[in-house]
Amino acid sequence: MPEQEDRLIRCFASVFPGLTPEEIRQTNSESMGIWDSLSTVTLAAVIEEEFNLEIDPDVLPQLNSFDAFRTYLDRMSSAQR
């Protein structure tokens, strides 16, 4: 789903400005010093609004990388179908 991935990259770019799309794809909270709890909350809010979904607060701590968000979105899309 390239379109979904592009939208997700834009969400990440809005919270972590200055990263290239390739860098964003490799992003995770451990490798990025600026990915703190505030960034997590902001990122979750941006993604919830952008994809019109509600992220369970219990799941949020596990969404600690671009890959994790992509997988989560894929799963949510499949569940909706």
């Binding site: 400005p17 909350v41 902001t42 809010a45 941006v46 609004e49």
Partner: protein, 579 residues
């Protein structure tokens, strides 16, 4: 605005040299996305300003306001929610909602409301304060069904309403209008319980965006237009007076033309608040004269000046009106029902806001009047507002009797029986002085504009002073028309700002201001922070005449030079010195 858009707007670069504004966002909850939305909306309104937002401690709105150091900020935005009045009015604390608890909650909220009122009033003495009263619903804590208003719930609303009423009358405080907020953000869509409990921000993203937009609008006052020029047929009234006759035009419910009555009533309201209103109509002047004799017109002919009624092009009428008002096209709104006329005027004056009158459009008239109110709205109406139109009429009499530039003769000025009232001090709560400084273009030393906090900061220096001049003569009063602001360094007066309304030209008031500085302040020399601007030609001409050379940045004038070059002054001068 979506959060992703807000984040993208905020990260747009701002020029290094951009002026900065520091705003303290005072709230008792986590500002989080609200802070982002406020920054984004502010950036949209003021792309050239670098905004810095400071925030306080979670759960302590009162303390955040009371601990504030106003000298470190340019404005404060206070966001009050019910839980700031008593934590039990929110859902993050579990203090009890038993019926026996409720009276205590209301009493505690009342005390908090009073304390908040005092704290905001105190801060507003030094920096402008923007206040948003509770926007979220009260929790389901009352014994009555939610559809029924209980006494205690009503008391809570009264506490908030009283505080809003009080604060809205405090100079320097601007309270967000809850009615407008309700239009922009539906009350049922504002509260995000999950976000409140998980992040501490109780607002949905949509509501956070709306509140951010409202605060951004309120933080910096924008200058209102000075005048409105209106068409007559099918605009001020329904019908064509030349075809339908004097009795055939209407503005009432019976003829289904009430919209025009609303427009007349609105223009009358604008005129009462000091907005200049003129008429430009391609029409028969004699017929229009008779139409204005109708007793049921809601806009008095006395509120209109001038009336340009003839068959020439509209743009020619507007050019003449602008000349008489002596203001720029960018300070005027033009209203006409004819798209061709609107286009012709817009082509002649691209900088003028030209509006099509929504003839026969019931929904359109509401938006039209709201838009006009938004453009012309001002925080308060000053006594000079009531004088403005009359003084422009009087200026016509002044010119006719010989007061125009070339006939600025001693004899004529002597016969004018002029009186100038000079008010000297450091008063920063003179709204008229602040308004003059920020809207005068022609007789303006350097074109510098001030924010409210810059203006107040300027007068924190004990060396600073402000001199205002009010004027009246046998042709009528002009009100406060000149402001001089500067600093005394020993026997040297440094003028940072000097403006005078164009209505007051040719009366030698500017000489009287300088004379006061030399004679009463004991200045030996006056230094002018002069800067040429695209529009301050009259100031350039005055200084050229006084200095006997074209002015340059940092020019100065010695006492003996002034008295040698000043023309004779015939005013009676009254002086008030404030501590």
């Amino acid at each position: 605005m979506k959060l992703i858009e807000a984040l993208e707007i905020v990260k747009r670069p701002v020029a290094d040299a951009a002026p900065g504004t520091k705003v303290f966002l005072a709230c008792g909850f986590t500002p989080l996305h609200l802070q982002t939305f406020l920054a984004a909306h502010f950036r949209e309104l003021h792309p050239e300003v670098r905004l810095e937002i400071k925030t306080g401690r979670f759960g302590d709105l009162m303390g955040n306001i009371e601990r504030l150091n106003p000298s470190e900020i340019d404005a404060v935005a206070v966001l009050m929610e019910w839980s700031d009045l008593d934590p039990r009015l929110g859902i993050r604390t579990l203090g009890g909602w038993r019926p026996a608890d409720l009276a205590d909650i209301v009493e505690s909220a009342g005390k908090s409301g009073m304390r908040m009122q005092r704290a905001i009033t105190g801060v507003s003495q030094q920096v402008p304060a923007v206040v948003c009263m509770p926007t979220l619903p009260l929790p389901p804590m009352f014994p009555t069904r939610p559809i029924q208003a209980g006494a205690l719930e009503s008391q809570l609303h009264r506490i908030v309403s009283s505080a809003a009423e009080y604060l809205s009358q405090v100079p320097g405080v601007r309270v967000a209008n809850p009615q407008l907020l309700a239009e922009m953000s539906a009350p049922a869509d504002r509260y995000d319980v999950k976000a409140d409990l998980t992040t501490g921000l109780p607002y949905t993203l949509g509501h956070a965006s709306t509140v951010g937009a409202v605060l951004a609008e309120l933080i910096q006052n924008r200058p209102a237009p000075k005048g409105l020029i209106t068409d007559l047929d099918d605009t001020l009234w329904a019908g064509i007076v030349g075809d339908d006759g004097i009795d055939g035009i209407s503005w009432d419910l019976d003829h289904h033309t009430h919209l025009h009555g609303l427009y007349q009533q609105f223009l009358s309201s604008l005129a009462g608040a000091g907005v200049l209103v003129a008429v430009a109509s391609r029409n028969d002047a004699a017929l229009v004269e008779r139409a204005f004799e109708r007793k049921d017109l809601l806009l008095s002919k006395n509120d209109i000046f001038p009336l340009e009624i003839h068959w020439s092009r509209k743009s020619e009428s507007l050019r003449r009106i602008l000349g008489i008002w002596n203001i720029g096209a960018d300070a005027v709104v033009f209203v006409d029902d004819n798209p061709m006329e609107v286009a012709e005027v817009k082509a002649a004056f691209p900088e003028m806001e030209c509006r099509l009158f929504p003839k026969g459009d019931y929904h359109g008239i509401w938006k039209f009047l709201r838009d006009l109110r938004d453009a012309f709205g001002k925080p308060l109406v000053t006594k000079e507002d009531a004088l403005r139109l009359q003084s422009i009429r009087d200026a016509g009499a002044w010119r006719n009797e010989g007061g125009a530039v070339e006939s600025n003769s001693d004899e004529f000025l002597k016969s004018a029986e002029a009186c100038i009232t000079l008010d000297y001090g450091q008063s920063t709560d003179d709204a008229r002085a602040f308004e003059l400084v920020n809207k005068t273009n022609q007789f303006n030393l350097n074109g510098k504009r001030f924010t409210e906090s810059e203006w107040r900061n300027f007068f924190r220096d004990p060396a600073s002073f402000m001199l205002t001049a009010s004027y009246r003569d046998k042709y009528g009063p002009l009100g406060t028309i000149a402001v001089v602001a500067g600093k005394m360094h020993g026997r040297n007066a440094q003028l940072h700002t000097w403006v005078m309304s164009c209505r007051a030209f040719s009366r030698r008031i500017e000489y009287q201001c300088l004379k006061y500085l030399f004679e009463n302040l004991g200045a030996d020399e006056i230094n002018f922070d002069y800067q040429a601007t695209a529009r301050n030609g009259p100031m350039q001409e005055f200084l050229t005449e006084l200095l006997e050379a074209p002015p340059a940045s940092g020019v100065s004038l010695k006492r003996d030079e002034f008295f040698a070059r000043s023309p004779a002054l015939f005013h009676r001068v009254e002086v008030t010195v404030r501590a």
